[in-house]
Subunit: 296 residues, 6 copies
């Protein structure tokens, strides 16, 4: 089971001006083959399908707990996309074409299907698909897949970072580069334990430190590259049998923290009358408010 | 953010003998257009995209908290599929064709791609797709969609129940019929508050009470048709402004419970050497166990 | 614009016993790459996109009028699939698993998504897609495509005929072989006029006369292989500039008939309580009937 | 069966200058999830699959007759897209790159696959798919779906209207907003009769009157928001048992008209030599014309 | 079996400045429905599936040998796309956004998924699919399909040529127009032999000579429009039973050449540090070079 | 460029009786995510996209030469599927339903779309897609991907072997297990050279020697697990800088062979009149033979 908290992993700057094409590009990190929907669902399905959970508990705990973190990543990329649309269009009568700025933008779904918010699709508008999930049941093969998946995801994040300098996008990517780095290392360590091969010596792939990204450094400075959370009140503690020793990139001790980070408030989104979202006028609002308070 | 608990919503019977074609049919309830992947992702994306969360908090809380329950539903359907494969194949040397029983079964992916476990696809093997997510940002339209989605999902569940009498499948469906019923009612009540139209008078659709399903009755007897959980330690409490009054089907008071149900242990899955899952032999196991205990 | 008549092109026998797997195979002729959805949409989109309709009126009239016939073909294949499901399942309480006979059938969507009726997909359950439409705007290329499409469609029909001996399926296929033959010939004649190449000499492809199919012969005996209809009260009469001379297969004169064939009644379908279709019980029915008669 | 008329539902202005990106956006209203291909095929398949047509004739007649109108909507959106490409490219020798203006436009298929005409795909170029069809066979559920589908389609139309001020696009959308409004109301009334729930009180969704759109008003002034056509010479007359009383938006009497509206001529499209469409030069034309007149 | 040569069919100019949107358009000729992936795989699968290869050897040899040429076409289009990206982005620290020029380009996959190289997809980024392969096993139908496919492919090439004046794109298209012309003629001649219908009289479709394209003329001048290669050291020689007589377009003798053309060197591609490709720094390079030379 | 030889890599037994469902399962190894279409196209596209081919020649040569071997694998799996259909149906008049045995088989496309031969799709009939190609341009990441891909492909082969005991299927799989093993080792060695990490110590994954498969042993006995071919007359010789030393599984020296293996004849396929393949009757044959010999 899962519990939800009405907070997200880090605070994101609410921009004055968004950038719809940056939002379109960031979709790759959400619903692309190597986006957060893919990491989430790969680990979720693998955790359900894990055979001999008891016998191989630390590996199960690793995959299961990272699943929960990935939900939060999906949340974070969603929020950054939603913020990146700020100020793209204007409010007015339909006949003045208030959505005209959307006509030449890259992702028309974000103007027609949604109210300028994220969809489970990629940078070309193609829907995320369950074909992106690999779950063979063979422990070594699944771990190897996950290690590869994290490195592919890292590559895409680095490239999207290089495509846009919008601070809201970069804050999100900076943070995810650091957290993705811990996952790559965790799967490397799990693979090493399972096979004896020291794959972590390959890291980082691509061969550029996270510290080379301005927006990643604050999270490195907080030590977030050394921590795995259990993302659970009581469970998944055996990840500490895998996540132990020192971080090969900085020599600092690896650390398991029970639970979640403290997080930050989820930004609210303005209403967007030109998209009819949420589409509740003042009269309706008052009538609704009364109904909501009845019989309480 | 999300936290994970290593329990699932109800206990499922571990069968002596599974039924691979029943497992294939149950996939529709997981990765089909009206499967739990769809309810999960619809509500998740809508909750991220919700505009004016503060102003319309009870509606936001409703969509956001049900999201968390849907994760648990995805988990439950996964586990039932994984259990339904028990005893389908046998263990032995590759040359005796230990997977031969899979050759004529409906879903070959469950023998080739997975170790006889679930995939994010439907009853015909087609992958779940993000195209199944609707998130218009218009509150009334999104609520209407969700109401329709729950009724479509209910129809599919009722039909799959009628296709298989396997107890493990039916336990899961019986429970989900009851819980899905609360979600349909919740969206009906939210729609009523938002629009003044008493759509809950339509229910149930299809017009057959949950009590007509043997495996649903135990959950009705526990009163699970009257309860919404917040699925959160502290948040989403305003759902009680919507979930109030009495249940029109039984006249009993509706009730909001903070947090989650107690749940049940997640069943472990046997190893399946003919699928190389998890594929760790005794020697490897001992070597691995030693490495896991090192430096603790 | 289109007008609809509540009749279909031929009468179909209502079978005592259907055959769900034959229904599944027949889906290829509806929603497959060479199914009637494809012929319909190819000609419909080409007719809309036709440049210089006035200057090249006979060609436009040909594509436009055949479009209307193809709607009727889609209708006919739908009806045959819907009839082929007769008697596959039984009625009863959900707990006796009244849909159990569907569990091992080829197309589970026909039990879960529909009430044992047709869907716009093919024999493997994959949805028909707009990618099947070719509309280049080049007259010769479009005609060549259509000629090829008809021959591919003919091949598929012949093969499905050979897969099932169910009379309802074969009546439909027998008729469509004859009508498809006229379309192949019509496009051949149009191509010949446009290019001077006598492509009709290739026919039939595959090289087996329609008369070799028992269920096609009645329609040949009616002369349906010599007729093109305009499928319009007044328009598309210039097809007679293309459809003229004699039929190379039988030497009989080709004939254009203004309007449509007389057709036959559309068979009604029984209610199917185990699918909750239409799901209206006697009480509801009476209440509804009263409302329908109010204020008339 | 269907008959075709060589007219379309309204006249469209033939523009001096089109707008290829507006054409791309309008594709969403043709081949998108909520486009006219979807309404057409949903109602068409539901009408074929309708169980107990005789017993529930007014409902059957409603779905069946609206199907025919939707063909005309598909035709209208096609024609508007085809007109919107006017003057985008220029004619000349291939080496001067006469299609160069297409290189940076949103939908490259409209330059490469078609001769700047419509395809059955959406605003991002993805093909329409049969997955968009819902046909459960349960009357209440299918009506609820159709009601939701019409509101989703309305939302998309309103948003595309706001994206482009091109008159040809807006004429089409203005008309379809009015006609779509009648369909939404018709399904609302059918639902009300079937369930007793007055869902029409929700309308309009989104909460903005059609009269707020300049290009919709002429059709409102003609009373087109009060009329359902039977789209048939003789059949489907029982829709008047549903479509009766007054229009809740304007208090005027609802009216059923046997047959179709009078319609308007279909605009012809210029030849486009740079696309080789139709690709018939003057010599060919004369040779062809002679062949067409032979043996008449 | 296949052997590979490290050369490609013609030399391509290495441009100073590429054009990312031209690269995107050219993808249609690689991974579109009528792209080289389609011709390659159609002929490859047909050659494997050919029944009675011995009895109908010349036809088998034709399809089998053209397959090998199509591999080379896939190679050529790939290389032209890869060259067309030259100089689109710049090298630098991630924080200066060195990939910023990719943000507004048409195909974001070429910046995120690849290092600005080709993918098996089309001009809208959609992946090539096996659905594009037709292999009925009926000789006449397969030949007719291939004839149509070549003409569709020709149309798309002509249109892309008209969209971009980039020399590297045009060199490739000019060559492929000539070679595609020989394939169209070859299938026409094969069809004529098999059916007696002189379909080659239709050619060219569209009705514009290759000589009207500046970049095709050099290859015509080399006589490449009269030659079929066997693409084999010893096999497939019976194509000369089909490829004989004179070229109807120029009256020159058709000629079969055993083996392959001489070809040209494959252009090397610069490293692209902003894409981390190949991502080997100087230190790594030296260490690797040493390992490569060890134990030789 | 590529040259073709009319031979395949090994001889396959022509069976008296095929097994259509085994043929369906084997499709996974052809057109599945981990099938030979995927290995072929991954390496082909990576070889085209390789940056700094000269500087990193041994790695380029490795990817480029294995591409050519994969063509032969695609050929081999195709031929085994085509042979596996032998004797499934019978010949006769359409009215005796000669394809009736296909009605309940798993892959209806093999009866309707093809003449019982292979298609580029997987075991559930879904088409192979270009989405299966990974080509990041980062050398380490691409090598890691290829290593993972080979292990996934190995897992699928082992499982399909266990599903069917048909000798024709197993001969092919036995051979491909051995050859796939050399590719996995080759990428492991390349990765080791590039990164210093001895990933080959992980092998085999899954942890079961090829020698445990009866049909693999003959190829091991021939030493095929120690050999890489260059698949070229003159090129790609630098693979010997990677493929050197001894095979860690057997301690024998690794060996590079210039060119290809000798191979075996490609089996001919009987005509199949019930599929109209090739559909040439005796009269036609004689007429055609005469035309083929004319003017030689």
């Amino acid at each position: 089971m899962f519990k939800r908290l009405d907070r997200m992993q880090i605070a994101l700057t609410i921009p004055e001006h968004g950038d719809a094409n940056a939002a379109a590009a960031v979709q790759e990190l959400l619903g692309g083959k190597f986006g957060e929907m893919s990491t989430l669902n790969n680990y979720m399905f693998q955790s359900f399908a894990f055979r001999q959970k008891k016998k191989h508990r630390p590996f199960y705990d690793l995959v299961a707990s990272i699943t929960a973190e990935e939900f939060g990543h999906v949340e974070l990329v969603n929020n950054s996309i939603n913020l990146l649309t700020r100020g793209v269009t204007f409010t007015g009568d339909p006949d003045i074409a208030p959505l005209q700025n959307g006509l030449n933008k890259r992702n028309s779904y974000q103007f027609i299907a949604t109210a300028q918010t994220a969809l489970p699709g990629d940078s070309m508008g193609r829907a995320w698909t369950g074909d992106n999930v690999f779950s063979s049941g063979n422990l070594v093969l699944d771990l190897l897949h996950n290690f590869f998946l994290e490195l592919g995801a890292r590559t895409h994040k680095m490239r999207v970072y290089e495509m846009t300098d919008h601070p809201t996008a970069r804050e999100m990517i900076g943070y995810l580069l650091v957290r993705g780095g811990t996952h790559a290392l965790a799967y490397a360590k799990a693979l090493e334990i399972a096979t004896g091969v020291d794959v972590k010596k390959m890291l980082p792939v691509p061969d550029l430190d996270n510290s080379k990204f301005d927006y990643a450094r604050p999270y490195i400075d907080q030590g977030l590259d050394n921590i795995l959370y259990t993302w659970s009140d009581y469970d998944y503690q055996e990840i500490k049998k895998i996540w132990k020793g020192t971080n090969p990139e900085n020599g600092e001790p690896l650390q398991v923290i029970q639970g979640t980070p403290k997080g930050a408030p989820i930004p609210d989104l303005d209403d967007l009358p030109e998209e009819f979202a949420p589409g509740i006028d003042q009269d309706d609002y008052e009538r609704i408010a009364k109904k909501l308070m009845e019989n309480m």
